[in-house]
Symmetry: C2
Subunit: 223 residues, 2 copies
């Protein structure tokens, strides 16, 4: 009981800071996206390809979340965009980002020069879904290798998200995964969740994702 | 600060119950293993194949941890062994099992008839590593698809474990994964961690895992 009260307090405090973050994003006409997935589903590769393809059209920035290492921030350094690494080892090894961590990281970025901010969450399908960071949209990256039952087993993240990217489609023919079953399981949890199948490796399906991104930015900026 | 004190209290309370669980296992000459991995790394498939191959030699039981669904328990039902499902939705959606949940589940199993108990943890590479359940050994299942850097990014689970199973080796030729780099990264975090490469699909490498399991059981039971 004590544990549950504490969690409620923490979530409420988080929501207040998340609201502040969102106001800052809005004032700067930034589209902020929270990317969530299991470990190794390909979030960083999706980001690399996205920045590679749209880097001339938009000014990107990335806040990278990890328990340990700044490997992903280093991978993105080549694009010469602002990248801030949060490692939660210094926050007791937290298994998710929270609005306060994001607020601190935001202060290291000149937000007046950013169009789209990606917040790459910790690799975890559970707790990240419960913490509003101030983003406008939540995007799940699911690796096809994880199997058809993940929406049913991790319902909160699928229920709370605005887009599902099914990544590693290039492996489909080797996996024996029933894609229709995956889509049906997703619909049961969140009938309105748009789904884009892609491969960050072969770039199959990438056009639809970039189109979705452009549309979200237009809605946000009114441009 | 308040959060950290609370966490310490919770972990200490957990350890007391874990110790009780371990005593019960020892009294019943049970080898208890805690299986941890990311979502969809193949823990349940490893269990299916293991029970299939050693079901005549040992009496198995399984405690299944999930946030939602009893899909995995249903998959194991065909082996006619005791399987108890814990769904943490009823514990505030906890992202890991704790010793108390396991203690309650144990009470539903006739432990006098069990040789090896598998506790299949929630799919999450972070928090499960911090909670002792009373098991004798911790086993990580890593899907090869997750990439070479997971030991560096999720150091606690690799540091605290007794065996690493690198699963889905059948996909190796399609993935372009540098296996030596994965092994080097693992050694940096935990130089003594034994590593077995296998495929629960093709059964490649399975012999070594079954051999490891038999040895652990012999050590435990003295038989």
């Amino acid at each position: 009981m004590r544990k549950i009260t504490m969690l409620t307090d923490l979530l409420e405090a988080n929501d207040v800071i998340a609201m502040e973050n969102r106001k800052v994003f809005d004032r700067n006409r930034i589209l902020a996206l929270n990317l969530m997935s299991s470990p190794g589903a390909g979030k960083t590769t999706v980001l690399e390809k996205t920045i590679d393809k749209l880097g001339k059209r938009f000014h990107f920035a990335v806040i990278e979340g990890d328990v340990a290492t700044s490997n992903d921030a280093k991978r993105l350094a080549k694009y010469k965009i602002p990248v801030v690494q949060i490692t939660t080892e210094t926050f007791g090894g937290a298994c998710h980002l929270d609005a306060n961590m994001v607020q601190r990281a935001m202060q290291k970025i000149d937000l007046s020069k950013v169009d789209i901010l990606f917040i790459e969450n910790i690799g975890n399908l559970i707790c990240p879904a419960e913490f509003d960071l101030g983003e406008h949209k939540k995007v799940i990256v699911l690796s096809l290798t994880e199997g058809e039952d993940k929406p049913s087993k991790y319902p909160v993240v699928f229920r709370n998200s605005d887009l599902l990217l099914v990544n590693k489609m290039d492996l489909w023919s080797y996996l024996g995964i029933n894609l229709n079953l995956l889509l049906r399981n997703t619909k049961k949890i969140n009938p309105k969740l748009p789904i884009i199948k892609l491969s960050a490796k072969t770039e199959e399906g990438f056009k639809s994702w970039l189109e979705w991104l452009r549309k979200q930015y237009q809605k946000k900026s009114g441009s």
